[in-house]
Symmetry: C2
Subunit: 252 residues, 2 copies
DNA sequence: CGTAGGGTTGATTCTTGTCAAACTCTGTGG
DNA sequence: CCACAGAGTTTGACAAGAATCAACCCTACG
Protein backbone atom coordinates (compact mmCIF):
# COMPACT_ATOMS: atom_id res chain seq x y z
CA UNK A 1 0.00 0.00 0.00
CA UNK A 2 2.06 2.94 -1.18
CA UNK A 3 -0.70 5.25 -0.02
CA UNK A 4 -1.18 3.92 3.48
CA UNK A 5 0.94 6.59 5.06
CA UNK A 6 -0.59 9.39 3.07
CA UNK A 7 -1.34 12.67 4.75
CA UNK A 8 -4.89 12.92 5.93
CA UNK A 9 -5.15 16.35 4.30
CA UNK A 10 -5.84 14.62 0.99
CA UNK A 11 -9.31 14.03 2.37
CA UNK A 12 -9.99 17.70 2.80
CA UNK A 13 -11.84 18.34 -0.48
CA UNK A 14 -14.31 15.60 0.34
CA UNK A 15 -15.05 16.93 3.80
CA UNK A 16 -15.29 20.42 2.48
CA UNK A 17 -17.71 19.51 -0.21
CA UNK A 18 -19.98 17.34 1.91
CA UNK A 19 -19.99 19.92 4.69
CA UNK A 20 -21.19 22.46 2.20
CA UNK A 21 -24.21 20.27 1.53
CA UNK A 22 -24.99 19.29 5.12
CA UNK A 23 -23.28 20.12 8.40
CA UNK A 24 -21.39 16.99 9.47
CA UNK A 25 -20.95 15.99 13.07
CA UNK A 26 -17.45 15.27 14.31
CA UNK A 27 -18.29 11.58 14.50
CA UNK A 28 -19.69 11.53 10.99
CA UNK A 29 -16.57 13.16 9.69
CA UNK A 30 -14.32 10.80 11.61
CA UNK A 31 -16.03 7.63 10.49
CA UNK A 32 -16.07 8.78 6.88
CA UNK A 33 -12.39 9.68 7.04
CA UNK A 34 -11.60 6.31 8.51
CA UNK A 35 -13.50 4.50 5.79
CA UNK A 36 -11.83 6.56 3.10
CA UNK A 37 -8.32 6.01 4.36
CA UNK A 38 -8.85 2.26 4.14
CA UNK A 39 -9.61 2.18 0.45
CA UNK A 40 -7.12 4.56 -1.14
CA UNK A 41 -6.31 3.87 -4.78
CA UNK A 42 -4.29 5.46 -7.54
CA UNK A 43 -4.97 5.30 -11.24
CA UNK A 44 -3.29 6.85 -14.26
CA UNK A 45 -4.88 9.21 -16.73
CA UNK A 46 -6.99 8.07 -19.66
CA UNK A 47 -8.27 4.95 -17.94
CA UNK A 48 -11.86 3.79 -17.75
CA UNK A 49 -12.79 3.34 -14.10
CA UNK A 50 -16.09 1.78 -15.00
CA UNK A 51 -17.92 1.23 -18.26
CA UNK A 52 -21.48 1.42 -19.46
CA UNK A 53 -23.20 -1.87 -18.73
CA UNK A 54 -21.02 -2.74 -15.75
CA UNK A 55 -22.65 -3.56 -12.43
CA UNK A 56 -21.55 -1.35 -9.54
CA UNK A 57 -20.70 -2.53 -6.08
CA UNK A 58 -18.82 0.29 -4.48
CA UNK A 59 -18.60 4.03 -4.15
CA UNK A 60 -15.54 5.96 -5.24
CA UNK A 61 -14.73 9.31 -3.77
CA UNK A 62 -12.26 11.47 -5.65
CA UNK A 63 -9.42 12.96 -3.65
CA UNK A 64 -7.34 14.45 -6.44
CA UNK A 65 -7.46 14.65 -10.21
CA UNK A 66 -10.26 14.98 -12.74
CA UNK A 67 -12.56 12.38 -14.22
CA UNK A 68 -15.36 12.56 -16.74
CA UNK A 69 -18.62 10.76 -17.26
CA UNK A 70 -19.28 10.04 -20.91
CA UNK A 71 -21.56 8.20 -23.27
CA UNK A 72 -20.89 7.11 -26.82
CA UNK A 73 -22.96 6.31 -29.87
CA UNK A 74 -22.39 3.22 -31.99
CA UNK A 75 -20.51 5.16 -34.60
CA UNK A 76 -18.05 6.58 -32.11
CA UNK A 77 -19.51 10.00 -31.43
CA UNK A 78 -18.79 10.78 -27.80
CA UNK A 79 -20.38 13.14 -25.33
CA UNK A 80 -18.84 14.00 -22.00
CA UNK A 81 -21.91 14.52 -19.84
CA UNK A 82 -20.11 15.82 -16.77
CA UNK A 83 -16.75 16.19 -15.11
CA UNK A 84 -16.00 14.84 -11.66
CA UNK A 85 -13.76 16.99 -9.48
CA UNK A 86 -11.91 16.33 -6.22
CA UNK A 87 -14.29 16.01 -3.32
CA UNK A 88 -17.03 14.55 -5.47
CA UNK A 89 -18.07 10.94 -5.61
CA UNK A 90 -18.61 8.64 -8.54
CA UNK A 91 -22.07 7.31 -8.19
CA UNK A 92 -22.89 7.16 -4.57
CA UNK A 93 -26.00 4.94 -4.68
CA UNK A 94 -25.37 3.80 -8.23
CA UNK A 95 -25.52 0.26 -6.88
CA UNK A 96 -29.25 0.73 -6.45
CA UNK A 97 -29.54 0.30 -10.21
CA UNK A 98 -28.48 -2.93 -11.91
CA UNK A 99 -25.81 -1.53 -14.25
CA UNK A 100 -24.13 1.70 -15.27
CA UNK A 101 -25.81 3.70 -18.02
CA UNK A 102 -22.57 5.54 -18.81
CA UNK A 103 -18.81 5.26 -18.43
CA UNK A 104 -16.38 7.06 -16.19
CA UNK A 105 -12.81 7.75 -17.27
CA UNK A 106 -9.90 9.59 -15.73
CA UNK A 107 -8.67 12.64 -17.57
CA UNK A 108 -5.65 13.06 -15.27
CA UNK A 109 -3.98 10.71 -12.81
CA UNK A 110 -6.42 10.29 -9.95
CA UNK A 111 -6.31 9.36 -6.29
CA UNK A 112 -9.59 8.09 -5.00
CA UNK A 113 -10.99 6.10 -2.16
CA UNK A 114 -13.12 3.06 -2.81
CA UNK A 115 -15.76 2.13 -0.27
CA UNK A 116 -17.61 -1.13 -0.68
CA UNK A 117 -21.35 -1.02 -0.86
CA UNK A 118 -21.97 -2.74 2.48
CA UNK A 119 -19.50 -0.53 4.24
CA UNK A 120 -20.95 2.57 2.65
CA UNK A 121 -24.51 1.64 3.53
CA UNK A 122 -23.69 0.98 7.16
CA UNK A 123 -21.81 4.26 7.30
CA UNK A 124 -24.86 6.13 6.07
CA UNK A 125 -27.20 4.17 8.29
CA UNK A 126 -25.18 5.26 11.30
CA UNK A 127 -24.93 8.93 10.39
CA UNK A 128 -27.99 10.67 9.08
CA UNK A 129 -26.09 13.81 8.15
CA UNK A 130 -23.74 11.79 5.97
CA UNK A 131 -26.63 10.09 4.24
CA UNK A 132 -28.28 13.41 3.54
CA UNK A 133 -25.05 14.96 2.34
CA UNK A 134 -24.48 12.17 -0.17
CA UNK A 135 -28.05 12.37 -1.38
CA UNK A 136 -27.74 16.12 -1.78
CA UNK A 137 -24.67 15.52 -3.86
CA UNK A 138 -26.74 13.34 -6.14
CA UNK A 139 -29.46 15.98 -6.35
CA UNK A 140 -26.91 18.63 -7.28
CA UNK A 141 -25.67 16.29 -9.96
CA UNK A 142 -29.11 16.23 -11.55
CA UNK A 143 -29.22 20.00 -11.40
CA UNK A 144 -25.86 20.20 -13.14
CA UNK A 145 -27.03 17.69 -15.69
CA UNK A 146 -30.08 19.83 -16.43
CA UNK A 147 -27.91 22.88 -16.86
CA UNK A 148 -25.81 20.93 -19.32
CA UNK A 149 -28.97 20.18 -21.29
CA UNK A 150 -29.77 23.85 -21.79
CA UNK A 151 -26.11 24.49 -22.44
CA UNK A 152 -26.01 21.94 -25.24
CA UNK A 153 -29.47 22.68 -26.55
CA UNK A 154 -29.75 26.43 -26.43
CA UNK A 155 -26.40 28.17 -26.10
CA UNK A 156 -24.24 28.91 -29.14
CA UNK A 157 -20.61 27.83 -29.21
CA UNK A 158 -19.03 30.83 -27.48
CA UNK A 159 -21.62 30.89 -24.72
CA UNK A 160 -21.31 27.15 -24.33
CA UNK A 161 -17.58 27.10 -23.83
CA UNK A 162 -17.69 30.18 -21.62
CA UNK A 163 -20.34 28.53 -19.51
CA UNK A 164 -18.29 25.38 -19.08
CA UNK A 165 -15.37 27.47 -17.85
CA UNK A 166 -17.55 29.40 -15.40
CA UNK A 167 -19.06 26.26 -13.98
CA UNK A 168 -15.73 24.50 -13.70
CA UNK A 169 -14.13 27.46 -12.01
CA UNK A 170 -16.90 27.77 -9.45
CA UNK A 171 -17.03 24.08 -8.71
CA UNK A 172 -13.28 24.01 -8.20
CA UNK A 173 -13.43 27.10 -6.05
CA UNK A 174 -15.96 25.41 -3.80
CA UNK A 175 -13.40 22.78 -2.90
CA UNK A 176 -10.55 25.25 -2.56
CA UNK A 177 -8.81 24.38 -5.78
CA UNK A 178 -8.51 27.74 -7.47
CA UNK A 179 -5.67 30.19 -7.04
CA UNK A 180 -6.83 33.77 -7.40
CA UNK A 181 -8.48 33.91 -10.80
CA UNK A 182 -6.71 30.83 -12.14
CA UNK A 183 -7.33 27.14 -12.01
CA UNK A 184 -5.99 24.06 -13.71
CA UNK A 185 -7.66 22.93 -16.90
CA UNK A 186 -5.94 19.63 -17.51
CA UNK A 187 -7.96 18.56 -20.53
CA UNK A 188 -7.30 18.37 -24.23
CA UNK A 189 -9.29 20.37 -26.73
CA UNK A 190 -10.82 17.07 -27.77
CA UNK A 191 -12.21 16.70 -24.25
CA UNK A 192 -13.59 20.22 -24.31
CA UNK A 193 -15.16 19.55 -27.69
CA UNK A 194 -16.80 16.38 -26.39
CA UNK A 195 -18.10 18.23 -23.33
CA UNK A 196 -19.60 21.09 -25.32
CA UNK A 197 -20.94 19.06 -28.22
CA UNK A 198 -18.71 20.82 -30.75
CA UNK A 199 -16.26 19.56 -33.33
CA UNK A 200 -12.66 19.91 -32.32
CA UNK A 201 -11.96 22.43 -35.06
CA UNK A 202 -14.86 24.60 -34.10
CA UNK A 203 -13.94 24.36 -30.45
CA UNK A 204 -10.45 25.54 -31.27
CA UNK A 205 -11.82 28.57 -33.06
CA UNK A 206 -14.21 29.28 -30.24
CA UNK A 207 -11.32 29.29 -27.77
CA UNK A 208 -9.51 31.76 -29.95
CA UNK A 209 -12.58 33.95 -29.99
CA UNK A 210 -12.75 33.90 -26.19
CA UNK A 211 -9.04 34.68 -25.99
CA UNK A 212 -9.31 37.50 -28.50
CA UNK A 213 -12.12 39.01 -26.45
CA UNK A 214 -9.84 38.93 -23.42
CA UNK A 215 -12.27 36.69 -21.56
CA UNK A 216 -9.88 33.83 -20.90
CA UNK A 217 -6.20 33.04 -20.87
CA UNK A 218 -5.63 29.37 -21.51
CA UNK A 219 -2.18 27.90 -21.90
CA UNK A 220 -0.17 25.09 -20.51
CA UNK A 221 -3.24 23.53 -19.00
CA UNK A 222 -3.93 26.60 -16.85
CA UNK A 223 -7.07 28.68 -17.18
CA UNK A 224 -7.04 32.30 -16.05
CA UNK A 225 -10.22 34.34 -16.01
CA UNK A 226 -9.28 38.02 -15.88
CA UNK A 227 -12.85 39.16 -15.28
CA UNK A 228 -15.20 36.47 -14.06
CA UNK A 229 -18.27 38.67 -14.29
CA UNK A 230 -17.51 39.44 -17.92
CA UNK A 231 -17.15 35.74 -18.68
CA UNK A 232 -20.39 34.94 -16.85
CA UNK A 233 -22.04 37.62 -18.90
CA UNK A 234 -20.81 36.13 -22.13
CA UNK A 235 -22.01 32.73 -20.95
CA UNK A 236 -25.45 33.83 -19.77
CA UNK A 237 -24.34 32.13 -16.60
CA UNK A 238 -26.72 31.94 -13.69
CA UNK A 239 -25.31 29.91 -10.84
CA UNK A 240 -28.50 29.10 -8.97
CA UNK A 241 -28.14 25.46 -9.88
CA UNK A 242 -24.90 25.36 -7.91
CA UNK A 243 -26.46 27.19 -4.99
CA UNK A 244 -24.99 24.77 -2.57
CA UNK A 245 -21.52 25.78 -3.38
CA UNK A 246 -22.42 29.35 -2.59
CA UNK A 247 -23.84 28.29 0.70
CA UNK A 248 -20.51 26.63 1.32
CA UNK A 249 -18.76 29.93 0.89
CA UNK A 250 -21.22 31.68 3.15
CA UNK A 251 -20.59 29.26 6.00
CA UNK A 252 -16.88 29.05 5.55
CA UNK B 1 -63.24 18.22 -3.35
CA UNK B 2 -64.46 17.22 -6.78
CA UNK B 3 -61.90 14.45 -6.81
CA UNK B 4 -62.64 12.86 -3.47
CA UNK B 5 -64.77 10.18 -4.96
CA UNK B 6 -62.35 9.41 -7.75
CA UNK B 7 -61.75 5.83 -8.74
CA UNK B 8 -58.69 4.38 -7.11
CA UNK B 9 -57.56 3.09 -10.50
CA UNK B 10 -56.15 6.55 -11.24
CA UNK B 11 -53.31 5.56 -8.93
CA UNK B 12 -52.34 2.59 -11.05
CA UNK B 13 -49.56 4.24 -13.09
CA UNK B 14 -47.78 5.26 -9.91
CA UNK B 15 -47.91 1.81 -8.39
CA UNK B 16 -46.89 0.27 -11.66
CA UNK B 17 -43.91 2.54 -12.05
CA UNK B 18 -42.64 2.26 -8.50
CA UNK B 19 -43.10 -1.51 -8.50
CA UNK B 20 -40.94 -1.66 -11.56
CA UNK B 21 -38.15 -0.05 -9.56
CA UNK B 22 -38.57 -2.00 -6.33
CA UNK B 23 -41.02 -4.69 -5.29
CA UNK B 24 -43.52 -3.03 -2.93
CA UNK B 25 -45.12 -4.81 -0.01
CA UNK B 26 -48.88 -4.76 0.27
CA UNK B 27 -48.60 -2.41 3.24
CA UNK B 28 -46.25 -0.07 1.41
CA UNK B 29 -48.65 0.10 -1.47
CA UNK B 30 -51.63 0.67 0.79
CA UNK B 31 -50.07 3.47 2.79
CA UNK B 32 -48.84 5.21 -0.35
CA UNK B 33 -52.28 4.92 -1.94
CA UNK B 34 -53.86 6.32 1.16
CA UNK B 35 -51.51 9.29 1.21
CA UNK B 36 -52.05 9.96 -2.47
CA UNK B 37 -55.82 9.88 -2.27
CA UNK B 38 -55.72 12.57 0.39
CA UNK B 39 -53.95 15.16 -1.74
CA UNK B 40 -55.54 14.92 -5.16
CA UNK B 41 -55.37 18.05 -7.27
CA UNK B 42 -56.29 19.14 -10.76
CA UNK B 43 -54.59 21.79 -12.84
CA UNK B 44 -55.14 23.04 -16.37
CA UNK B 45 -52.63 22.95 -19.19
CA UNK B 46 -49.93 25.52 -19.69
CA UNK B 47 -49.57 26.35 -16.01
CA UNK B 48 -46.37 26.58 -14.03
CA UNK B 49 -46.59 24.20 -11.11
CA UNK B 50 -43.39 25.50 -9.62
CA UNK B 51 -40.78 27.96 -10.81
CA UNK B 52 -37.03 28.24 -10.69
CA UNK B 53 -36.02 29.82 -7.41
CA UNK B 54 -39.06 28.62 -5.48
CA UNK B 55 -38.55 26.63 -2.30
CA UNK B 56 -40.16 23.19 -2.30
CA UNK B 57 -42.10 21.68 0.53
CA UNK B 58 -44.00 18.81 -0.95
CA UNK B 59 -43.83 15.99 -3.45
CA UNK B 60 -46.20 15.80 -6.38
CA UNK B 61 -46.99 12.50 -8.03
CA UNK B 62 -48.53 12.63 -11.47
CA UNK B 63 -51.62 10.53 -12.04
CA UNK B 64 -52.61 11.70 -15.50
CA UNK B 65 -51.39 14.21 -18.05
CA UNK B 66 -47.96 15.43 -19.13
CA UNK B 67 -45.66 17.99 -17.60
CA UNK B 68 -42.26 19.29 -18.55
CA UNK B 69 -39.23 20.52 -16.69
CA UNK B 70 -37.66 23.50 -18.36
CA UNK B 71 -35.04 26.17 -17.93
CA UNK B 72 -34.79 29.52 -19.65
CA UNK B 73 -32.04 31.97 -20.48
CA UNK B 74 -32.35 35.70 -19.82
CA UNK B 75 -33.15 36.42 -23.44
CA UNK B 76 -36.02 33.96 -23.52
CA UNK B 77 -34.42 30.92 -25.08
CA UNK B 78 -36.05 27.91 -23.49
CA UNK B 79 -34.96 24.31 -23.10
CA UNK B 80 -37.26 21.55 -21.99
CA UNK B 81 -34.91 19.29 -20.08
CA UNK B 82 -37.35 16.44 -19.51
CA UNK B 83 -40.98 15.43 -19.67
CA UNK B 84 -42.84 14.04 -16.69
CA UNK B 85 -45.33 11.28 -17.42
CA UNK B 86 -48.11 9.68 -15.39
CA UNK B 87 -46.71 7.55 -12.58
CA UNK B 88 -43.67 9.76 -12.17
CA UNK B 89 -43.08 12.24 -9.41
CA UNK B 90 -42.00 15.85 -9.55
CA UNK B 91 -38.97 16.08 -7.40
CA UNK B 92 -39.28 13.55 -4.71
CA UNK B 93 -36.57 14.79 -2.32
CA UNK B 94 -36.28 18.19 -3.98
CA UNK B 95 -36.96 19.70 -0.58
CA UNK B 96 -33.48 18.61 0.45
CA UNK B 97 -32.16 21.52 -1.61
CA UNK B 98 -33.09 25.11 -0.75
CA UNK B 99 -34.77 26.10 -4.00
CA UNK B 100 -35.69 24.78 -7.43
CA UNK B 101 -33.05 25.10 -10.14
CA UNK B 102 -35.68 24.77 -12.87
CA UNK B 103 -39.40 25.16 -13.49
CA UNK B 104 -42.14 22.62 -14.03
CA UNK B 105 -45.12 23.33 -16.23
CA UNK B 106 -48.10 21.33 -17.36
CA UNK B 107 -48.37 20.64 -21.06
CA UNK B 108 -51.85 19.10 -20.73
CA UNK B 109 -54.44 19.23 -17.97
CA UNK B 110 -53.00 17.20 -15.12
CA UNK B 111 -54.26 15.29 -12.13
CA UNK B 112 -51.67 14.85 -9.44
CA UNK B 113 -51.39 14.09 -5.79
CA UNK B 114 -49.54 16.41 -3.47
CA UNK B 115 -47.89 14.94 -0.40
CA UNK B 116 -46.43 17.29 2.16
CA UNK B 117 -42.80 16.86 3.06
CA UNK B 118 -43.38 15.64 6.61
CA UNK B 119 -45.96 13.16 5.45
CA UNK B 120 -43.74 11.94 2.67
CA UNK B 121 -40.75 11.51 4.92
CA UNK B 122 -42.65 9.53 7.50
CA UNK B 123 -44.07 7.38 4.73
CA UNK B 124 -40.59 6.55 3.49
CA UNK B 125 -39.24 6.06 7.00
CA UNK B 126 -41.89 3.43 7.59
CA UNK B 127 -41.42 1.55 4.33
CA UNK B 128 -37.94 0.88 3.17
CA UNK B 129 -39.06 -0.45 -0.20
CA UNK B 130 -40.91 2.79 -0.86
CA UNK B 131 -37.88 4.85 0.04
CA UNK B 132 -35.72 2.80 -2.29
CA UNK B 133 -38.24 2.98 -5.09
CA UNK B 134 -38.40 6.76 -4.91
CA UNK B 135 -34.64 7.03 -4.81
CA UNK B 136 -34.36 4.74 -7.79
CA UNK B 137 -36.75 7.00 -9.62
CA UNK B 138 -34.39 9.87 -8.96
CA UNK B 139 -31.42 7.85 -10.17
CA UNK B 140 -33.24 6.96 -13.37
CA UNK B 141 -33.95 10.64 -13.82
CA UNK B 142 -30.24 11.37 -13.82
CA UNK B 143 -29.70 8.63 -16.34
CA UNK B 144 -32.38 10.11 -18.58
CA UNK B 145 -30.84 13.54 -18.14
CA UNK B 146 -27.47 12.18 -19.24
CA UNK B 147 -29.03 10.61 -22.31
CA UNK B 148 -30.58 13.97 -23.15
CA UNK B 149 -27.09 15.48 -22.97
CA UNK B 150 -25.73 13.18 -25.65
CA UNK B 151 -28.95 13.64 -27.59
CA UNK B 152 -28.55 17.41 -27.63
CA UNK B 153 -24.80 17.39 -28.00
CA UNK B 154 -24.10 14.66 -30.51
CA UNK B 155 -27.17 13.63 -32.45
CA UNK B 156 -28.26 15.50 -35.57
CA UNK B 157 -31.80 16.77 -35.91
CA UNK B 158 -33.45 13.66 -37.36
CA UNK B 159 -31.76 11.35 -34.87
CA UNK B 160 -32.64 13.70 -32.04
CA UNK B 161 -36.33 13.85 -32.76
CA UNK B 162 -36.50 10.14 -33.48
CA UNK B 163 -34.77 9.48 -30.17
CA UNK B 164 -37.23 11.62 -28.28
CA UNK B 165 -40.11 9.66 -29.79
CA UNK B 166 -38.49 6.33 -28.95
CA UNK B 167 -37.86 7.32 -25.37
CA UNK B 168 -41.32 8.77 -24.90
CA UNK B 169 -42.97 5.72 -26.35
CA UNK B 170 -41.03 3.34 -24.12
CA UNK B 171 -41.57 5.39 -20.99
CA UNK B 172 -45.29 5.55 -21.68
CA UNK B 173 -45.39 1.85 -22.43
CA UNK B 174 -43.82 1.15 -19.05
CA UNK B 175 -46.86 2.67 -17.35
CA UNK B 176 -49.34 1.05 -19.68
CA UNK B 177 -50.19 4.13 -21.67
CA UNK B 178 -49.59 3.02 -25.22
CA UNK B 179 -52.10 1.36 -27.48
CA UNK B 180 -50.47 -1.02 -29.92
CA UNK B 181 -47.91 1.06 -31.74
CA UNK B 182 -49.57 4.37 -30.94
CA UNK B 183 -49.48 6.78 -28.07
CA UNK B 184 -50.65 10.29 -27.39
CA UNK B 185 -48.26 13.13 -28.18
CA UNK B 186 -50.12 16.09 -26.74
CA UNK B 187 -47.46 18.69 -27.37
CA UNK B 188 -47.05 21.52 -29.85
CA UNK B 189 -44.18 21.64 -32.30
CA UNK B 190 -42.83 24.48 -30.21
CA UNK B 191 -42.58 22.09 -27.26
CA UNK B 192 -40.83 19.49 -29.38
CA UNK B 193 -38.43 22.14 -30.64
CA UNK B 194 -37.64 23.23 -27.10
CA UNK B 195 -37.08 19.64 -26.05
CA UNK B 196 -34.74 18.85 -28.91
CA UNK B 197 -32.85 22.14 -28.98
CA UNK B 198 -34.01 22.95 -32.53
CA UNK B 199 -35.74 25.97 -33.99
CA UNK B 200 -39.41 25.46 -34.63
CA UNK B 201 -38.97 25.76 -38.38
CA UNK B 202 -36.25 23.17 -38.47
CA UNK B 203 -38.20 20.89 -36.18
CA UNK B 204 -41.15 21.09 -38.54
CA UNK B 205 -38.95 20.07 -41.47
CA UNK B 206 -37.42 17.27 -39.45
CA UNK B 207 -40.87 15.89 -38.67
CA UNK B 208 -41.66 15.94 -42.36
CA UNK B 209 -38.48 14.06 -43.04
CA UNK B 210 -39.43 11.38 -40.50
CA UNK B 211 -42.91 11.18 -41.98
CA UNK B 212 -41.58 10.94 -45.51
CA UNK B 213 -39.33 8.08 -44.44
CA UNK B 214 -42.38 6.29 -43.07
CA UNK B 215 -40.89 6.23 -39.59
CA UNK B 216 -43.69 8.06 -37.83
CA UNK B 217 -47.29 9.05 -38.30
CA UNK B 218 -48.09 12.13 -36.31
CA UNK B 219 -51.42 13.86 -36.52
CA UNK B 220 -54.09 15.12 -34.19
CA UNK B 221 -51.77 14.74 -31.25
CA UNK B 222 -51.37 11.00 -31.82
CA UNK B 223 -48.04 9.38 -32.59
CA UNK B 224 -47.95 6.08 -34.42
CA UNK B 225 -44.70 4.21 -34.93
CA UNK B 226 -45.20 1.68 -37.71
CA UNK B 227 -41.83 0.01 -37.11
CA UNK B 228 -40.28 0.74 -33.73
CA UNK B 229 -37.04 -1.03 -34.57
CA UNK B 230 -36.61 1.08 -37.66
CA UNK B 231 -37.18 4.24 -35.66
CA UNK B 232 -34.72 3.11 -33.00
CA UNK B 233 -32.24 2.48 -35.72
CA UNK B 234 -32.65 5.95 -37.13
CA UNK B 235 -32.26 7.34 -33.62
CA UNK B 236 -29.21 5.31 -32.63
CA UNK B 237 -31.38 4.40 -29.69
CA UNK B 238 -29.99 2.19 -27.00
CA UNK B 239 -32.39 1.78 -24.12
CA UNK B 240 -29.99 0.65 -21.41
CA UNK B 241 -30.51 3.86 -19.53
CA UNK B 242 -34.15 2.93 -19.09
CA UNK B 243 -33.25 -0.61 -18.03
CA UNK B 244 -35.67 -0.46 -15.16
CA UNK B 245 -38.60 -0.21 -17.40
CA UNK B 246 -37.51 -3.37 -19.08
CA UNK B 247 -37.22 -5.08 -15.76
CA UNK B 248 -40.76 -3.97 -15.17
CA UNK B 249 -41.88 -5.82 -18.24
CA UNK B 250 -39.95 -8.90 -17.24
CA UNK B 251 -41.60 -9.12 -13.85
CA UNK B 252 -45.06 -8.19 -14.96
C1' DC C 1 16.03 11.83 -36.13
C1' DG C 2 11.57 10.28 -36.44
C1' DT C 3 7.14 9.92 -34.47
C1' DA C 4 2.88 10.83 -32.12
C1' DG C 5 -0.25 13.68 -29.79
C1' DG C 6 -2.02 17.92 -29.52
C1' DG C 7 -2.98 22.36 -31.51
C1' DT C 8 -3.90 25.54 -35.55
C1' DT C 9 -5.29 27.08 -40.23
C1' DG C 10 -7.78 27.52 -44.76
C1' DA C 11 -11.23 26.02 -47.88
C1' DT C 12 -15.44 24.06 -48.46
C1' DT C 13 -19.86 21.83 -47.45
C1' DC C 14 -23.67 20.89 -44.78
C1' DT C 15 -26.80 21.76 -41.10
C1' DT C 16 -29.49 24.70 -38.75
C1' DG C 17 -31.42 29.32 -37.69
C1' DT C 18 -33.84 33.53 -39.07
C1' DC C 19 -37.21 36.19 -41.34
C1' DA C 20 -41.40 36.78 -43.57
C1' DA C 21 -45.49 35.18 -45.23
C1' DA C 22 -49.29 32.16 -45.92
C1' DC C 23 -52.26 28.54 -44.59
C1' DT C 24 -55.33 25.71 -41.44
C1' DC C 25 -58.22 25.12 -37.84
C1' DT C 26 -61.01 26.43 -34.09
C1' DG C 27 -63.72 29.18 -31.31
C1' DT C 28 -66.16 33.54 -30.72
C1' DG C 29 -69.00 37.43 -31.31
C1' DG C 30 -71.73 40.28 -34.43
C1' DC D 1 -74.06 32.38 -40.97
C1' DC D 2 -70.04 34.98 -41.52
C1' DA D 3 -66.06 37.66 -40.18
C1' DC D 4 -62.42 37.67 -37.35
C1' DA D 5 -58.75 36.55 -34.17
C1' DG D 6 -55.36 33.62 -32.50
C1' DA D 7 -52.70 29.61 -32.06
C1' DG D 8 -50.41 26.27 -34.46
C1' DT D 9 -48.33 24.57 -38.72
C1' DT D 10 -46.09 24.96 -43.20
C1' DT D 11 -43.33 27.07 -46.93
C1' DG D 12 -39.61 29.69 -49.33
C1' DA D 13 -35.51 32.42 -49.42
C1' DC D 14 -31.58 33.48 -47.29
C1' DA D 15 -27.91 33.91 -43.60
C1' DA D 16 -25.19 32.19 -40.09
C1' DG D 17 -23.24 28.59 -37.44
C1' DA D 18 -20.85 24.45 -37.24
C1' DA D 19 -18.82 20.21 -39.40
C1' DT D 20 -15.60 18.17 -42.45
C1' DC D 21 -11.39 17.58 -44.94
C1' DA D 22 -6.74 18.26 -45.52
C1' DA D 23 -2.74 20.26 -44.31
C1' DC D 24 0.71 22.04 -41.33
C1' DC D 25 3.07 23.33 -36.96
C1' DC D 26 5.04 22.44 -32.54
C1' DT D 27 6.98 19.95 -28.92
C1' DA D 28 8.02 16.13 -26.05
C1' DC D 29 10.04 11.89 -26.20
C1' DG D 30 12.20 7.54 -27.45
Amino acid sequence: MPLSTVDRSVLEPVIRRLSALRPLSTEARASLEYAMLEGLQRVGSGEDLISEGDPVDSVRVVLSGWLCRYKTLEDGRRQIVNFIFPGESCDAHAFLLPVMDHSIATVTPVIYSEIKRARFESLLAGERSLAEAFWCETLVNIAIQREWAINLGRRVAVERVAHLFCETFERLRAVGMVDGNSCVMPVTQMDLADATGLSIVHLNRTLQELRAAGLIILRERMLTIPDLDALKNAALYSPSYLQLYRRAEATR
